[in-house]
């Protein structure tokens, strides 16, 4: 798209959006946010980038095909549930660690992994659809 303002602002804006999306994802357990909304922000970042810089540049920026990201996310979410089985709980029961050696980290959990999976699915699927729609024959 030939808009000077958009083209100038986009690299900065989409980078910030991507960063913000990860922030939203990670804080989601205690504050407003989470994998779904974070994923939407991330997908918007790529969508805007594609509109401003062209599809080829956007595809280079996302590195792997978007639908692969979605598939990976789905796999990750499912595996986080399988991990619970290995610990002797029912599928998808949350597992938590509060490591004492790294108090700043606060916690690690299969639930967070699951949320990351949701995030990747949303980013991959929405960005994939947006890219495909922008493609011209």
């Amino acid at each position: 798209m030939n808009s000077l303002i958009l083209r100038t602002a986009t690299p900065l804006l989409s980078g910030l959006m991507l960063l913000f999306s990860i922030y939203v994802l990670l804080r989601g357990h205690n504050e407003p946010g989470g994998g779904f909304i974070g994923g939407l922000i991330g997908a918007s970042a790529f969508a805007i980038y594609a509109i401003a810089e062209g599809l080829a540049a956007a595809r280079r920026a996302i590195v792997v095909p978007p639908i692969t990201i979605a598939g990976t996310g789905l796999l990750l979410a499912a595996l986080s549930g399988v991990a619970s089985i290995l610990f002797g709980d029912a599928f998808l029961t949350g597992q938590w660690w509060f490591p004492s050696f790294a108090p700043d980290m606060k916690y690690a959990s299969t639930v967070v992994l699951f949320d990351v999976g949701v995030y990747l699915v949303v980013v991959g699927a929405i960005a994939g659809i947006a890219f495909a729609l922008e493609e011209r024959e």
Binding site: N30, G35, A43, I51, G73, V111, A125, I129, A132, E137
Partner: protein
């Protein structure tokens, strides 16, 4: 016990690999498992004969009361032993019969899986587990019948068997669940221990009819008998195993199992006797009408199943003993005769009765097996078949039962007598016939099973004490549900049953002597009649025609039409229930608050703009404004999460919609005529009004905060999160979310696929995107209104 049931499945999966490693001797290797299972089950013979019953249980879905529960009593043990013992020889036989066949490994895989399913079925003590194994036998049977999948006849037969038995299976599921509800337990042994609860329950008739539908379809009772002869398209090992010795007896097993719970009532007796008796006569007549060895045997199997159902229907202790004795005898002689028929086919290249004779010299072992099995089937002493037949007559003659029962039994048995001699004797004696191949004896695997089963028929006849104390006695007691004296013997003096036997033999000899003439005559009569097999085709054609009609009506290919229907149905579905609802809705003026009012105005303004503006791109953006207004509403009323999400969803919707519109040739102005604007307006107003009414009703009702309180309380203490919405999504209800993200992924893949499909199609230009599905079809075949609309569309867009 669980391991014994699952072992065939595990080995089955490995069968193709074993085939590749061992080549054609795979049958000998795989037969070790059923042989081992036979020994395993045989160790229960002692305790069961002493009157014990054994239960084994493993949790499966404890929340739903579903357990992998197994129950061993006389009935299930007899079945389990027949399945594993005959299965041993069938695996051997299959290895020899399909020697060199490219798909032998796959065949053995299906066969072993069937064995596991059948074992699970007869041992199950839980109604759901029983149903699961029941359906597994239908599915494996489908795969085995359709083994020669390049033949259209095989495919049809496989599908037919699946439709008939699978449909019956669904009825059975409903019946079993009704029983579980009525009796208050998922455990069969618990339910059946107190049968009066079931028999006196108001749902009794429904349960009975549903269970009978399952049993009658599976055991090929009239009018569902047609699938069984068609199933003879399967390779002969399948016919011998599934369609005579085991699977088709599942229905009989079910009736026998249910007898203590559902049996004994007048309607049970009448239904079983009428359908069983009709099946006996129909099967026996159809057997004489055919001249293909396998088809003749298949029809006599139908007849025998009818006889078994008939006997269970009579339900007296002697009749139940007769049913179990006949079932035991039948599994041996019919399994053997099927294998003999297969060997004859293998050795000569034909199964046509009139071309086969004088094979005895070339195929001595097969001939011996055929003759011995035929003697047992015809019910001549000293074979076990004789004892079984004597008990059948004791069953029908005892008490004050009408004479017609005995007459039906005599007629059926006499017809089967004739068939037994035609199949088991005629091919092997007399002058050598004219066969495609020079007759030759098969390998050991091809005749060992048949000969063993046939000799056992003689053994149990001579030493009937074994059969009585180990098999028939405990099984009959299990079926009756009460202890009884069982005393099988070969010769009980010159009494009424012996007279009936003599009449049977005389009549049977007459049928045998006139076999060919009767067969030709029957062929002319039967083929002219309408039969359920034709009815099945008509039914299936009807189903397809109905589906085509409904699809043509609903799937017009016009997105607009889909949305119209969806919205109207949704509006009706929301409004109609409210008409019957008594919750009063009172409207109250919103608070005077500048923020609320401005947000409302913004939202309404967006909506108004969508209606007025004719440029589609701007209309889409106006919709975005409405969404933004909704996000504000969420924010004002304290749901930042929702507001946040709404904002992002709205932004992306606008972006994606704009991208879609840009691809479509409809960019530009709204050019609908006044009539269509009016129609769309009515639809829009009705869905909007319906949703508004729904929301008002919901908010008018007192809010149940039980769930919110529950999650609020536990969110931090159990899931370590303060954002309740997110905790619900990723922890409490993570399984739902997993399903949802799977849908998102699939939708993404589908969109990519559709777009790529459009791109790869060089003929399709953007101009015809709207009417895509219609362009390929004959316009005259479409609904006229749709056709006009499609043509208008194309005119307006070009």
């Amino acid at each position: 016990m669980l391991a014994a049931t699952l072992a065939p499945f595990v080995l089955g999966v490995c069968a193709p690999l074993v085939r590749r490693l061992l080549g054609d001797s795979v049958g000998w290797a795989l037969a070790v498992l059923p042989a081992g299972l036979t020994i395993y089950f045989a160790q229960f013979l002692g305790p069961i004969a002493a009157g014990e019953t054994l239960t084994f249980s493993t949790e499966w879905v404890p929340a739903a009361g579903i357990a992998l529960a197994f129950y061993v009593d006389g009935l299930s043990l007899m079945f389990a032993l027949l399945i594993s013992f005959i299965g041993t020889f069938i695996v051997l036989y299959a290895g020899a019969y399909l020697k060199g066949h490219a798909d032998l490994g796959r065949f053995l895989m299906f066969l072993l899986m069937f064995m596991g399913s059948m074992l699970g079925l007869v041992l199950s003590d839980n109604v759901v587990t029983l149903f699961v194994f029941w359906e597994l036998t239908s599915i494996t049977s489908f795969l085995l019948i359709g083994f020669n999948h390049d033949k259209a006849r095989s495919r049809r037969a496989a599908l037919q068997a699946l439709v008939v038995t699978g449909g019956g299976g669904l009825a059975l599921l409903a019946g079993l669940l009704l029983m579980a509800q009525a009796g208050g337990s998922m455990n069969l042994s618990t339910l059946l221990a107190d049968g009066d609860v079931l028999r006196e329950h108001p749902w009794y008739l429904a349960m009975l009819l549903l269970v009978l539908a399952g049993a009658f379809t599976k055991s090929a009772q009239v009018p569902f008998h047609f699938w069984l002869p068609n199933a003879m398209e399967a390779p002969t090992p399948v016919s011998a195993y599934l369609h005579s010795a085991t699977m088709v007896k599942a229905g009989v097993y079910l009736l026998a199992r249910m007898n203590p719970g559902l049996g004994g009532t007048e309607i049970w007796q009448v239904l079983l006797m009428v359908f069983g008796g009709a099946t006996l006569i129909a099967g026996a007549i159809l057997a004489l009408r055919n001249t293909d060895l396998k088809l003749m045997l298949a029809q006599t199997t139908v007849a025998s199943l009818g006889l078994l159902v008939f006997l269970i229907g009579i339900g007296t202790p002697l009749a139940l003993q007769a049913a179990m004795a006949y079932l035991f005898a039948h599994s041996m002689f019919k399994g053997a005769l099927f294998m003999v028929a297969g060997s004859v086919d293998h050795g000569t290249g034909t199964r046509e009765l009139h071309r086969l004779s004088g094979l005895g010299r070339a195929m001595p072992f097969t001939a011996a097996a055929g003759a011995l099995a035929a003697l047992s089937m015809s019910g001549l002493p000293p074979f076990f078949g004789f004892i079984a037949k004597e008990w059948v007559y004791k069953g029908t003659l005892g008490g004050e039962l009408p004479m017609i029962l005995t007459a039906v039994a005599i007629l059926g048995n006499a017809l089967m007598f004739a068939v037994a001699f035609l199949v088991g004797f005629k091919p092997f004696f007399g002058k050598p016939g004219d066969t495609p191949h020079t007759p030759h004896e098969g390998t050991l695997g091809l005749w060992a099973g048949a000969l063993t089963l046939a000799v056992l028929g003689l053994f149990f006849g001579l030493f009937s004490g074994f059969a009585e104390s180990l098999f028939v006695g405990p099984a009959a007691i299990a079926v009756a549900g009460t202890p009884m004296l069982v005393d099988l013997y070969l010769w009980g003096g010159f009494k009424a049953p012996v007279v009936a036997s003599i009449i049977t033999v005389a009549l049977g000899a007459l049928f045998f002597w006139q076999g060919r003439r009767i067969s030709d005559w029957l062929a002319r009569v039967v083929d002219a009649l309408w039969g359920p097999d034709k009815g099945y085709d008509q039914f299936m054609d009807g189903v397809v025609a109905l589906a085509r009609g409904v699809t043509g009506l609903l799937q017009t290919g016009l997105l607009r039409r889909y949305m119209l229907i969806t919205f109207l149905v949704l509006a009706a579905a929301v409004v109609l229930p409210q008409l019957f609802d008594s919750i009063g809705v009172t409207l109250q003026a919103p608070p005077v608050d500048l923020l609320v009012w401005s947000v409302a105005l913004l939202t309404l303004g967006g909506g108004l703009a969508v209606m007025i503006i004719r440029s589609r791109l701007i209309a889409i953006m106006s919709m975005g404004v409405m969404g933004l207004g909704v996000a504000f509403v969420f924010l004002i009323f304290g749901a930042p999460d929702l507001a946040f999400t709404q904002l992002m969803v709205e932004t992306l919707s606008v972006v994606i919609l704009a991208l879609v519109i840009a691809r479509l040739p409809v960019l530009g102005r709204d050019q609908r005529g006044p009539a269509r604007v009016l129609r769309d307006g009515i639809v829009a107003v009705s869905i909007g009004a319906a949703m508004a009414a729904l929301l008002l009703t919901i908010t008018a009702a007192p809010l149940d905060i039980g769930l919110s309180a529950y999650f609020g309380e536990r969110s931090y203490t159990e899931a370590f999160g303060r954002n309740i919405v997110n905790v619900i999504l990723v922890d409490f209800r993570a399984l739902d979310t997993l399903g949802e993200i799977a849908v998102v992924t699939i939708a993404g893949v589908a969109v990519l696929g559709l777009l790529a499909f459009r791109r790869s199609d060089p003929d399709a230009s953007g101009q015809e995107l709207i009417g895509q599905d219609i362009s390929g079809r004959d316009p005259a075949a479409l609904d006229p209104a749709v056709r006009d609309e499609a043509i208008r569309d194309r005119e307006t867009t070009s």
